[in-house]
């Protein structure tokens, strides 16, 4: 097992390199980070020239990638534009945990910029994932046990609708109904945007209240997908011989369902969740935009707009690492759930 994990980790490293190269090349051609620098007019020509040099953006892409990866503190860089390097660079490179400084939030390390948003995204996503897992288990198991009943058909249809729902449609619709119309009708209404009311502060109650609609929007799609998945897995397991044996033995039904069937049905579900979890780390970009949630997805959008390579690369690499790690974790959980699986 240890050997297997080691194997996977070692495999993950070249993969991450691969990803970083693809992304870096894309990022380098995405726009000019010093075109306006967030201002309302174009940056002055002389400043553009100087900034490109000072921020190292004048270097060829290979050199920039190398600096990004391995830092430039071992070489002298030219700050004053005379073509001769005089001071050592300050960047340590990603390999040494330095993702560089944000080009937008000047003076702030990219990791710090991202780090501030991670908790917000996690709060939202963990809540959504809990709703998804619990909800889909309930719905999926129920409709598997009542296969072909009216409720089953109803749930199946509903889950298809949920699965086909564009996230912005459900987000806009729910915001319109629960925040706008409810308010108009004098009903208790939900807040439209933000994570909390700054004047009240970041209290648990505030955050929960602001979280309801985004969580709802994120959950609907995955809930539909997962519950269908659980339903079909459960159906398959319920038709296995050992379940029939258990029934024949006269085991109580809940015991059959929850101990025998569900445990075995949970295997493929673990895989799916394992694949989905890291993606949630990126946050639902669209949801965060609509509800102005200060998470990573919105951060990504804001910084992509200004070509902030260090932050955008940071976010994407972080997610990639998470994907790799979660794939390994999934395998471990898988092995733990299913004693037949041993990795050699």
């Amino acid at each position: 097992m240890t050997r297997y994990i080691l194997h996977r980790i070692l495999q993950g490293i070249p993969l991450l390199f691969f990803i970083s190269i693809i992304l870096f090349v894309l990022m380098m051609n995405m726009g000019d980070p010093i075109a306006t620098m967030g201002g309302r007019t174009a940056t002055r020509p002389a400043d553009r020239e100087r900034l490109k040099r000072q921020l190292g953006l004048d270097k060829p892409i290979v050199v920039q990638y190398f600096y990004w990866l391995a830092g430039n503190d071992w070489t002298k860089i030219d700050l004053d534009g005379d073509g001769i390097g005089e001071t050592y660079g300050e960047r340590k490179g990603v390999l040494r945990g330095d993702f560089g400084y944000s080009l937008v939030n000047r003076g702030k390390p990219a990791l710090a910029v991202i780090g501030e948003r991670i908790p917000n995204t996690l709060i939202l996503m963990v809540a959504a994932e809990l709703v998804i897992i619990l909800g889909s288990l309930l719905v999926g198991v129920y409709s598997a046990l009542h296969q072909y009943s009216f409720t089953d058909h109803f749930i199946t249809t509903l889950s298809f609708i949920g699965y086909s729902m564009p996230i912005f449609f459900i987000a806009l619709l729910s915001m319109y109904i629960f925040a706008v119309l409810f308010k108009r009708w004098g009903l208790p209404y939900l807040p439209t945007v933000g994570m909390f009311d700054p004047q009240v502060g970041k209290t648990a109650g505030q955050v929960i209240l602001h979280m309801i609609l985004p969580v709802l929007s994120i959950s609907v799609i995955s809930l539909a997908a997962y519950s269908r998945y659980i339903r079909s897995t459960m159906l398959e397991v319920m038709n296995q011989d050992y379940i029939r044996t258990a029934k024949a033995k006269g085991l109580p039904r809940p015991q059959i369902v929850y101990i025998h069937a569900l445990k075995n049905a949970s295997l493929p579900i673990v895989t799916v969740i394992g694949l989905d979890l890291p993606l949630l780390l990126g946050g639902a970009v669209v949801t965060e935009r609509i509800f102005a949630w200060p998470g990573m997805g919105r951060l990504f959008l804001d910084h992509v707009e200004r070509g902030d390579l260090p932050v955008v690369m940071g976010i994407l690499m972080l997610i990639s690492v998470a994907v790799v790690v979660f794939q390994i974790l999934t395998d471990i959980v898988y092995a733990w759930l299913d004693p037949r699986i041993r990795f050699g």
């Binding site: 993969l15 691969f18 990022m27 298809f160 993606l279 970009v285 609509i290 997610i319």
Partner: protein, 319 residues
């Protein structure tokens, strides 16, 4: 030449072993029978036809010029007899725009899937058929692409390709270059799952003796890939492509919604929503109709794909 003549002369008809009595049903008939039983899939199919009629047939009644006709004095009018879906921020008719937007959205969906499927098949086939280093390289690349969430990749690519492609004139209509960009980037970001499916299919099918037989016959690798293996892995490809259309239409909507997609005045359901973001409350018709149409289209395709899967690809089981 000679040998065959001898064959004819000396072949004896009474050597025939046995004829078949009743011909079994062809595969396509079987599939159709299974498909027909899938009521939701039938319904999805019918709905999809209606939606296609709406988007493409609608252009018989409404001219594209009308869909792009701005009339600022009547901006943001509520739905009325004259403008059943209301008007947008420059007074264009929303109904007409959903018709032409639907066309573009569907064309994007279909063309993007063609790119996606071609890429997926190409990469999956090369990796699965040749194996070895080619396989490792291609699969590492696939995994790398797969590891980045699609929406992020789409955004980055949309910025990368943004407006690098000029406008196109096709069939007397001018398509914004951004339409082509969207098609390309959706195609480029969605082939990975299909590549994996195709690779797995190829890996298993190429082990069959009939591939060896073809090699022994002298059939070239390309012919083996195209004529032998591909037809045998067509079922999952068709299902994946069908569902891919739904995904592509959604992807288009997402990037257009984020302002990186097809640029106005060319309407798509997605970019109609983009402008609506600021009018959630004051002009709900701006987002409701295109949103609903996207939902209905995606839903119909998903139902259809589900039915197809059951009909032609009974092995696979997934959502």
């Amino acid at each position: 030449m000679g040998i065959l003549n001898i064959m004819i002369a000396e072949s004896t008809p009474n050597l025939f072993v046995d004829d078949l009595e009743t011909p079994p049903l062809p595969l396509t008939t079987l599939a159709w029978k299974r498909f027909k039983r899938h009521r939701m899939a039938m319904l999805g199919g019918v709905f999809l036809i209606l939606l296609v009629l709406y988007s493409f047939g609608g252009s018989l009644f409404v001219e594209e010029k009308y869909a792009n006709f701005t009339n600022p004095p009547i901006r943001l009018n509520t739905p009325s007899w004259q403008h059943p879906f209301g008007t947008d921020t420059v007074g264009r008719d929303v109904l007409a725009r959903t018709i032409y937007g639907g066309q573009i959205s569907m064309i994007i969906g279909i063309l993007a899937v063609i790119i996606e499927t071609s890429l997926g098949i190409l990469i999956g086939a090369l990796a699965g058929y040749y194996g070895g280093t080619i396989d490792s390289l291609l699969m590492r690349f696939t995994e790398a692409m797969l590891n980045i969430p699609e929406i992020f990749l789409l955004i980055v690519m949309a910025k990368f390709f943004g407006n690098k492609i000029p406008n196109l004139t096709l069939l007397g209509r001018t398509f914004s270059g951004s339409v082509v960009v969207i098609i390309v980037i959706i195609g480029l970001t969605s082939w990975m799952y299909l590549a994996r499916i195709v690779r797995a299919e190829f890996l298993s099918i190429k082990e069959n003796d009939f591939i060896l037989a073809a090699k022994a016959t002298g059939t070239s690798n390309t012919e083996i890939i195209i004529r032998h293996i591909l037809p045998n892995s067509i079922a999952p490809i068709i299902v994946s492509a069908t569902l891919g259309i739904a995904n592509a239409i959604l992807s288009e909507a997402y990037i257009s919604f984020l302002g990186l997609g097809v640029q106005p005045p060319t309407a798509t359901w997605g970019n109609m929503l983009d402008g609506a973001n600021n009018y959630i409350e004051s002009a709900p018709w701006l987002w409701f109709f295109p949103g609903l149409l996207i939902l209905l289209t995606v839903l119909s395709i998903n139902f259809l794909g589900d039915g197809l899967r059951d009909a032609i690809d009974p092995h696979s089981r997934a959502i």
